[in-house]
Each structure stands twice: as C-alpha cells, then as structure tokens.
Amino acid sequence: MNEGGTIFMPPANSTIAGEVDALFYFIYYTALVMFAIVIAGSAFFILKYRHKGKKSFTSGMDHNFKLEVFWTVIPTILVFIVFAWGFKTYLKMNVAPRNAIEIKATGQKWFWSFDYPNGANSVNDLIVPANKPVKLLLSSRDVIHSFFVPDFRVKMDALPNRYTTLWFRAEQPGEHHLFCTEYCGTGHSAMLGKVKVVSEEEYNSWLNESGNIPGGMTPVEYGADLYQKRACVTCHSIDGRAGVAPSFKGRFGTVETLSNGESVTVDENYLRESILSPRAKVVAGYQPVMPTFQGILNDQQIDALIAYIKSLQ
C-alpha cells in the first residue's frame, strides 16, 4: 500500500486521479518556469548591478508600457487555462454515473460507518468492487468530518445537517488509506480507515456473509475481530492504559463510580446499555463522547463483544 507514485503524488488508483495529476504537473512545471524567471532575474541583477564604490545617480527608468502589458497578459492567459481545466475535472468528480453502487457513509467521533445496499454494514473499512463506480452518500452524526482517500484524489466534507456526495471508480484490487480531514477533536488523527478494493465476486460474497459469525470463530474471537473492525480500539485500550475512554482490561465485574456520583457494576447489561446508549451512564473522569452503535452492531455482535470484554481479565 502506498508504494509507488511520483515525487509529489501518492499512487493514482482511481479513474479521476490521472486527470488531477495531469493538471497538478501542468501547474507545477509552469510555476517552476515562472519561479526560475524571477529567481534567475534577481540573481542576474544582484550580480550585475552590485554596488561598488560611491553611489551615484541611477537610471530614471520607472515604467515600460509594453513590458507591463506583457507580464500581465501572459500570466492571465495561463491562469485561465488552469481555471478551465480544473473546473472541467471538478465537474466530472461531482457527477456520478447513473449506475453507481450507492453506499451510505456516516462520520462520527471518531470512526466511519458504511451501510451497503443490501443492509450489510462495516466500520472504518469500506469494501468496494474494483472497476465499478461507487457513490457515497455522506453525512455526520455530530461535528463536521471530511472523507479523504489520497490514492483516489477525492475528498468531501460530511455534514450533520445535509447529505453530500462523492464518487470514484477504483481501478484495481488493493487497499488505500482513508483519512478524516476536517478537524473533529481529540481522536481526529485516529479516525483512520481503509478502502478495500476487491474483485466483484469477493465483494458479493462479503455482502452475503456480512453480519454472521464467520465460520470457525468462537464468540470471543469474533468479539476481538469486531473490537478492531468496529473501531472500539480507537478509544478503548485492552492493556489497561486509560485513554479517551476506560480500558477494557479487567473491567468486567468491577464497580465503577459514575459522573453523577452513583456507582454501577460492570455486568452484561451495563455493557449492552453502554454500547447502545453510551451517554446514559458515563464513568467518572471521562467525557460523554461515545456515539451510539444502535444500527451498527446487531445482537449477535453485541453478544460477541461482551464475551470478548469478559475474556480480558
């Protein structure tokens, strides 16, 4: 992942990326020429007109109409080319093909969840088929987030009050980083995901199996898997280290003091309540920042997570 690419750009893995890079390098080389003119001009004048001896009257040349028109018109033409080129690609980026697969992407502190057309869902890992247009319908459950996949050259804010869209067509199977690029608080830089581009068959079989315990896994193993894949790991450690949220290690069975002064025993019901209504009973010393997982985790998955937390003694 993230091998290759050019000096400046990461690898290009979507159909639009080539067009973006072409304009990037057009501006880059044009800017390099302009910069060279300014710097070479300065250097030449500095060397040639370096002051030696006593200062005397200098040339009164203070304007040159033709020259000034020249250096106004040429850059103006160049930036209009850049403007038109950038707009053309931007329109392509904003108009998704009609046959695009539509996936709902929701940002919240501090993970992404994805809902697929058949009802399957995933967290932080967006699974898409190669060579098919995919359209994301973006929104946020809390503050503004932004969905950014450098390898695809796409980015769009996820807002709490309206839908925004973004589309791409990934060219080959592979994995690509997904960043949140709108500052969203403590866990902003931990709001990382991956876009997993797979073949169409793999995509379809993943959709069908999603939500069931994968064959051969015990509930604890499945819980451990969900702990990673549903982004519990972003805030809850399993080594006892306190972070944004209490660690899972040795937590089950303990008695915790809550922020309202009451106390609660960490049992199955408390864990289930904390997953579905996380702000109902917050352990003292922590902020009520966890979002609900209602609709993201099904009963079987909640059971598996509880089994996993119980196992971390």
Partner: protein
C-alpha cells in the same frame, strides 16, 4: 561621527505614566512593538513544541488534547495578536506620520485607545488559555466550537475586542493619509508603504465588523443556543464558514498588503533606484483590497457548496493572483540598472521575493478546483500559507524592523550578526515548510496529532528545520536588543533614503520635525537626488 540628539521622543518625558498616557504615535508604536513581540515569542514557542511532538509518530511529549490546544493557540495568537497588528499597528504607527511629514496621526487619543483595546482583547485570550484552553482550531468551525469543552467564549470575545483595535487603527490611518500630508506630498508622491497601509486600512474598516458579528453569533449560539448554526434548530454550520471567511480572506490581505508596501520601500532604497511601475503597484494594492472580498468561497471547495459557487470563486481567485504577480515583476524590474547593496533589510527583501513567489505560485494549485479537492486540508495548505504569511508578511516585517530600527532607537545593530540570523531564518524556514508541501501532496492531513509511519522522514526533517529557524530568531533577539541599548549612533539617514522620515533626527523629536517639512523631491528620485549615507 554621529551622535544621539540630547532630547528625543524616548527620553523627553520619563516614567511609566508618561508612557501609559502618551499620545505620541511613536511611543504608541513602541508599546505595540513590545506587545506583539511578546506574543510572537509565545506563538513561536508553541510552534516549536508542536514540531517537537511531530518529530516521530505516537505520543512523545504531550497528549492529543494538549496538542490540539497548542495548534489552536499557535494559530490564534499568531494571526490575531501578532500578524494583523504587526505592520499596521506597530511599524505603521511608528513610521506613517513621519513618512507623511506630519506631527502625529489624525486622532492621537483614538490611537492610544486602540492600544488599550488590544491589551484588553489579549487579556481575554490569555484568560482563555489559563482557564481551560481552546481546542477548536483558530477558525472556530461550528458545530465543533459550539459543543467542545474549553474557553471558546473567552477566546472569541478576545477576538471580538481585538477587532475594534484594528478598526480604530484603520480609521485613524485613512483620515491621517487624507488630511495630514505635508505640503507638496500629493497622492502619487506618497511612498508606497503609505499606499499599502491605506489599502489595508480600507479592508480593516470594512471587513472586521463582519468578524465581530460572526464571533458574537458564535458566542450567542454557545451561551443561549439561538440555533443559527445548529442544524437541530434549523440552522446551518456551513453558514458559519461563509461568515468567517468573508472576513478572514480579506484578513489575509490585511496581513500581506502592508508587507508589500515595505518591500516596495526597501527594494528601491537598497537598489538605489527609482521604483518601477509606481502606479501599477499603488493601484494593484487597491485592486487586491477590492477583489479580496469576493473570493472567500475558495476555502470551501469541499464543504458541499454548489458547483456553480465553486466555479465562480475559483475564477475570481485567479483574478486576485494577477496583481500580486505584477508587483513581483515590478520589484524585479526595480533592481535593473540599480546600485544594489546587501544590508540586513535587503536580505529580508530578497528572502521575501524568493519565499513569497513560492507562496503565490502554490496558491495557483489551490485555486484550481480539481487539484484543490486533493490538497484541501492537507499539509500543502499549511505550507502554502506559511510561505505567504511568514515567508511574505513576516519577512517584510523583519525587513522593515531592521530598516527603521536605527530610526526608532537612534542606534545600529550588528550587521554581521544580522546577516547570520537572516541566513539561519532563510534556511530553517525552507527546511521546515518546503517539506510540508510534499507531505501535503502525499496526503498528510493537517491538524493531526499522530500520523502514519510513511510520513515520518519528512516530519522529522521539518522539525529539524524548525530548530534552525528558532535559533535564527534567538540570535536576532540578542543583537537587536544589544543594538537598541549599546549600538553605535546611526545618524539621520543610515541608508541614504529619500522619504521624509530620514530627514529628521534618529530618534526623532516628540513633534517629529523641527519645522514642517516641504516636499522637494519624490521618495524614489534616485535619478535626481543623492542623499548622504550617515553610516
């Protein structure tokens, strides 16, 4: 051998009270200078800590919450307490009336009031820092800023108050430039620094009220929950971004226009040559001031605004680039057939030309819609605005500071150490920030406490550069203070420049000139007049 005049504005009256109640524009300028340098130091130290933390991924020195507060404070302090007042309020106050051949600004009491308002605003900001900090980023985007913990109200109240300081200075300068010019100093004989301050003052007066209203709405939203930015009550968080950038994009030009004015002065003085394209430079300042109000949407290309709006903002953004380009070519042409010397102010001028050109050209990438989608909110943007704000405005400010330092204190600093510091700053700056262009194009998002391992070498190199940059500023602080106290007397006109401020003594008397000066030649007439260099 030069001597310091027996009586001058610094020693004519003594005691703390004589400073705190002064109406002398130069003393107010000096008080501004102390205040902004204090905040520049704080903002700079925060930056060094941020870079130190980013040297390697993971937690090294500070936690994520602390990091988020520090980058917020670095931005807010540098923008609102340092850069915006730096050139207009500090150097402008010191020099503008001298350049016009005037005794003072038009409204000396308003001028003193603006300083006190600045101090009051900064106290609110300091209170915000010690009473829980702010972690919203200097842009205070909603809805994050309406629900985050910390002292957002106190900080934004500080910004609201500081705005009035800026408006007062703007009004004062506009009236001063209209009414206080010495006999013979017509509009097109004014030094270009005055044109820069004039264009800046117009933006200060017209745009700052919008910022005031915006942060006031934010405060009302937080305290009373009026709902203007809250989607649950029918409000719109993106509306905040429109309001905010309607001020903050013109504010970029509040920061850079006076810097461009300084560069026009320095390039002519140290090329010993008439400025090329006087009117083009003067009118391009006004053109930039006007266009700066029409491009705010280019901060929001990925915010979900309509494609039509994005197209219009992109188009206008390219327009605003052209006048800046024209200025660069004019400065270049000024050196042609000059007699160029390389004292410290000229070194900063050349640094400015190099760095600001990079800053301007990288703006083209960000104005292009499709490329901006990739680069928006990455380190590319961070690098771009540091090249413009620090490589541009701060270099111009430092050039101006070194240029007028002997005028303010009557004494010279060490030229040798000044050259060493300029070199350290130039090298350190490029190491720190050029690296960040590449981080950005490779996809590294800004405002990240932690990052993927693949970005580590570039981050480490950038942090290393920041130490060299910091070292340059330490050296500068030492020789400037030493020069101010112990330097050798500079005489009236150490650089052989032609504008009014060099005809009076250094430091100037309280009333600036012994008798009202009269214009005998233009400020750039190096083809007709030779001024004796006094050092």
């Amino acid at each position: 051998m030069n001597t310091i005049p027996e009586k001058h504005f610094l020693n004519e009256e003594k005691g703390l009270k004589s400073w705190l109640l002064t109406l002398d524009h130069k003393r107010i300028g000096v008080m501004y200078l102390y205040a902004i340098m204090f905040f520049f130091l704080i903002g700079g130290l925060l930056a060094v800590v941020l870079r130190l933390e980013l040297t390697s991924p993971g937690t090294d020195f500070i936690e994520a919450e602390t990091y988020n507060q520090f980058f917020t404070l670095h931005g807010a302090i540098m923008i609102f307490l340092f850069i915006i007042p730096s050139i207009p309020a500090a150097l402008g106050n010191l020099i503008l009336p001298l350049m016009l051949g005037a005794k003072d600004v038009a409204f000396p009491r308003l001028n003193l009031a603006s300083w006190y308002i600045y101090v009051l605003g900064s106290l609110f900001a300091i209170f915000a820092i010690v009473s829980g900090g702010v972690d919203t980023g200097w842009t205070f985007y909603t809805p994050y800023s309406t629900e985050s913990a910390g002292s957002v109200v106190s900080m934004t109240m500080g910004v609201f108050i500081l705005g009035f300081s800026s408006i007062f200075t703007g009004i004062n300068f506009i009236v001063t430039i209209h009414k206080m010019r010495a006999p013979g100093l017509t509009w097109f004989k004014m030094p270009l620094f005055v044109w820069g301050l004039y264009a800046t003052a117009i933006i200060q007066v017209l745009a700052t009220p919008v910022l005031g209203i915006t942060v006031l709405l934010l405060i009302l939203e937080r305290v009373l929950g009026i709902g203007i930015f809250d989607p649950a009550m029918g409000g719109d968080p993106v509306l905040y971004q429109h309001f905010f950038w309607f001020y903050s994009h013109p504010a970029v030009y509040i920061m850079i226009l006076p810097g461009m004015g300084i560069i026009s002065e320095l390039i002519s003085t140290f090329s010993h040559k008439k400025i090329f394209g006087y009117k083009a430079i003067a009118f391009s300042s006004l053109g930039i001031a006007f266009l700066s109000f029409l491009v705010w949407g280019h901060h929001m290309f990925t915010s979900g605004q309509s494609e039509l709006a994005a197209m219009i903002f992109s188009f206008l953004t390219f327009f605003v680039g052209i006048p800046s380009g024209i200025k660069v070519f004019n400065w270049l042409a000024t050196m042609y057939k000059g007699q160029i010397s390389f004292e410290a102010p000229m070194l900063y001028t050349l640094s400015f030309l190099f760095l600001f050109t990079i800053g301007g050209l990288t703006g083209i990438f960000l104005g292009a819609l499709s490329v901006d989608v990739h680069l928006h909110d990455t380190y590319f943007v961070v690098a771009h605005f540091h090249y413009v704000m620090m490589g541009g405005t701060v270099m111009a400010f430092l050039g101006g500071l070194h240029y007028w330092w002997p005028k303010i204190w009557g004494r010279m600093y060490s030229e040798k150490w000044a050259k060493i510091a300029a070199a350290l700053i130039f090298v350190g700056f490029n190491m720190t920030f050029f690296t960040q262009f590449i981080l950005g194009t490779k996809g590294m998002p800004r405002r990240y406490y932690n990052y993927l391992d693949q970005y580590q070498p570039l981050h480490a190199f950038s942090s290393f550069g920041s130490w060299i940059l910091g070292a340059g500023f330490v050296v500068m602080a030492v020789y400037l203070i030493h020069g101010m106290l112990k330097g050798k007397p500079a005489g009236n006109n150490p650089w052989g420049a032609l504008s009014f401020e060099w005809t009076t003594s250094s430091p100037p008397p309280t009333h600036n000139f012994e008798e009202t000066p009269e214009l005998k030649h233009g400020p750039y007439d190096y083809d007709k007049v030779l001024a004796e260099t006094t050092i």
